[in-house]
Symmetry: C2
Subunit: 471 residues, 2 copies
């Protein structure tokens, strides 16, 4: 066995580093840190100890201790991940950044915000908005997820069609390396080719290459006008066929193009306990446009609304104020919670394909769902080819569920790869998809990942057992 | 000595791989491949042989041969680089991608273009434009530089304020690794967190981690309306102070905010041999706005024009058609060539600072220029904090030039770092700035770069001696 257990001496040292009250040993509390939002017990594992540092220096000391004692360290944000990335599958220390929750700076001249990793994404968004700026990262979990986790996962979300994923907004970070050095990569320069792009190697590396202790986020001018369209369709294919039409029509880049299938709509209606419009529809498409000119935003949504009506949309509901917009988005954003009501255990997949392949990908998923008689409600970010397809366990026993899930996943991934797609658009690999990655990724790339991991973390201390296995 | 010379047996094998006519041994021709656009002899070195492969497979065979024989390989695009990145400082093989010059696909449904590395950036731009799309990468050298070189350097350019640098447009690439494996990283998925972000580790790695053989470039809808403003100022500080004002005013993100100082304007006028308007001005600021609505573009340039006039602009020239726009940009784009007329040998620096530090950075550069009596014309991408500051040798002898240059550079870099800036915004480190990087970059990061380089190129075969020295 490569790793040592966390003994009393290590606990004492941890207490010296972060203070006694910030070392958690109570088994019940430890259990909370042994899981994320993945619902299955396979992807839960209790840590031996949880530490809550409050500075890069404390984290550096913990990493040095862990290297010396050969104990794994798993960094953790809010625990809202969907790939068991923050779960300490090999035990050891969970390092929670929950106390590092300060907004350090709002730089109005350079349009930057500098924050600690434990600030919620929602607070980043709100602080920016109140100052007249847009922080354009917007995962559905924004209200609860931490910005540090968003960076670690390169979180996607709802505004990526126009504004890109988290990665595009991250220009710098202070980071503690697996071996305990502290360094600041990038910063407030908007162009920078001074050496390799280490900022974006870190972003999306799922906490395997470093622990982010400070993030430099780019802000944008706040678009003054936003409008959302909710368009129900009586046919899933018609709904999904509209996506490439919108994306290639007349120069408009919408902020979002989302969809929900009929199962997801019903689940949302049940969860929210309120009647949704056209809730018998086969699908919803939700489109957001924004801009600095009211006239322009109106022209854009009229153009898109007309395209939808010409291509099978049953109706176009326009929401151009905050309260109706919130109502439209509530149905979409509650997707994960709503499914839990139907089936407390489920397997949420996060496949991605080139945008024009979305109709075929959904056809394939429906075919596989029928073949194995598994309900797979689908919703997601149609505008960037990212589909959340969730296998519901319902009342299957453990053994049957496991077997059917493996078959469905294998067939689904094969279909996705045949369409030029990939395993994950935004939830990451973590522990959950590691075995699938080993099967589907080009071995040359698996080796590149392994080599880089070993180069930066020679003792394999930081978040081991995630993304790939390394010897 | 780590490396072996290129012997007859290796030449024969190279001929077998790429064909006899694609192996260059003629010393005069070799000399052409021994330099890029850096004007100083220190940064020139003749290769032992040049090969011109036409496929990833041929490149893979060359890399395997080079690893076996311990011969360095330096990849080369159009040779328009400004950091001696494509110069074979240690001899060996230069691998030119000039024959890999095909546009492979224009995908109108997903808005992607797939191209070989030897296509000029200008041809990528033109092909996109003629099909109704925008390829937003736009280095000043676009007419001659290759897209492969743009990717290797993460070229910046004129549209980065709004559209980002080359990196933002690259979603995938086929690449030959230093050890000769071929793999395709990323592709046409616009969201993808399947493993580390290797696409963006490669982008900007200056040909030290892989040779790009195919690039997946994202296209955007072509903005239907573009307008350029040329604003002369009678005071440099006034001119440069306008940059943060424009960048933070009222929600407009301009496409470009460029500037030229008085020396640069004069040089351009001389080079173009045509009278420029207000050519006695202390500075020009050039601003571009674009959009899908004519009215919006007009409103934007009026807002910006008024801001300029209120803040010391002498006049606002508006160019809203191609021919007047070309005239405005010609002066800016000829910067490098124009300086050559004044001083055939010069040292072009490419510093970057946070945007609001540009006024201070220019003050510092002017102070240093005066202190050492060296002319340093400045121009560049003010909107993203990127200044091209060019030390002119004029009629100094070699020894004096070398001495004064080292002093000026050291002082300039120190000033830039004190302002939160960095060595290079878009030209890269290459051979030219390697020694400076070793002095100014955090040793922790130098070590990260070295570790990654060694992990992916254990024999140090691909473009050795660039960015950092590795043992």
């Amino acid at each position: 066995m490569r790793y040592n257990p966390v003994n009393g001496k290590i606990i004492d040292e941890l207490k010296t580093i972060v203070g006694e009250t910030n070392v958690v040993l109570d088994p019940e509390k430890l259990a909370v840190y042994g899981r994320d939002e993945v619902s299955e017990a396979d992807w839960q594992h209790r840590p031996e100890v949880v530490v809550k540092p409050e500075s890069a220096e404390q984290i550096a000391a913990i990493m040095k201790l862990a290297n010396r004692e050969m104990v794994p360290v798993t960094p953790r944000g809010a625990g809202t991940g969907l790939s068991a990335g923050a779960v300490p599958m090999l035990g050891g220390i969970v390092l929670s950044v929950e106390r590092m929750n300060k907004i350090l700076e709002l730089d109005r001249e350079n349009l930057f915000m500098v924050v600690e990793p434990g600030v919620t994404t929602g607070e980043v968004q709100k602080t920016a908005r109140e100052a007249g700026y847009l922080y354009a990262g917007d995962p559905c979990s924004a209200d609860s997820s931490f910005i540090g986790g968003n960076v670690a996962e390169n979180a996607g979300g709802n505004k990526a069609v126009k504004y890109g994923t988290t990665s595009r907004h991250v220009y710098g970070m202070e980071v503690v390396l697996p071996t305990g050095e502290i360094t600041t990569l990038g910063g407030k320069c908007v162009k920078d080719v001074t050496g390799y792009d280490l900022v974006h190697l870190m972003t999306g590396s799922e906490g395997t290459l470093g622990i982010v202790t400070k993030v430099f986020l780019k802000l944008l001018p706040l678009p003054q006008y936003v409008a959302d369209l909710l368009v129900p369709f009586d046919d899933m294919q018609k709904a999904i066929n509209i996506v490439p039409v919108i994306m290639t029509h007349g120069g408009i880049i919408p902020t979002s193009v989302e969809f929900m299938d009929s199962l997801s709509i019903k689940a949302a209606e049940m969860y929210l306990n309120q009647k949704l419009p056209y809730s018998d529809a086969a699908a919803y498409v939700i489109i957001e446009v924004d801009g600095s000119s009211e006239r322009q935003v109106e022209e854009d949504y009229e153009t898109i609304g007309n395209l939808c009506l010409k291509n099978g949309g049953l109706e176009v509901f326009v929401a151009d104020n905050k309260s109706t917009q919130d109502r439209i988005w509530k149905a979409r954003k509650c997707y994960a919670e709503a499914l839990r009501v139907i089936s407390p255990v489920y397997c949420m997949e996060d496949i991605v394909v080139p945008t024009n392949r979305i109709p075929q990908a959904l056809e394939e998923i429906n075919r596989i769902a029928a073949k194995y008689a598994v309900k797979i409600p689908c919703a997601g970010h149609a505008g960037d080819g990212n589909i959340h397809a969730t296998l519901l366990r319902e009342n299957r026993d453990e053994q049957t569920w496991h077997e059917v899930k493996e078959k469905v996943l294998d067939e689904m991934y094969r279909a996705v790869y045949a369409l030029g797609g990939n395993l994950s658009g935004e939830h990451g690999i973590g522990a959950k998809r590691k075995e699938a990655l080993a099967r589907f990724m080009d071995p040359v790339q698996l080796n590149m990942i392994r080599s880089i991991k070993k180069a930066l973390d020679p003792n394999l201390i930081l978040n081991p057992g995630k993304i790939v296995d390394v010897e």
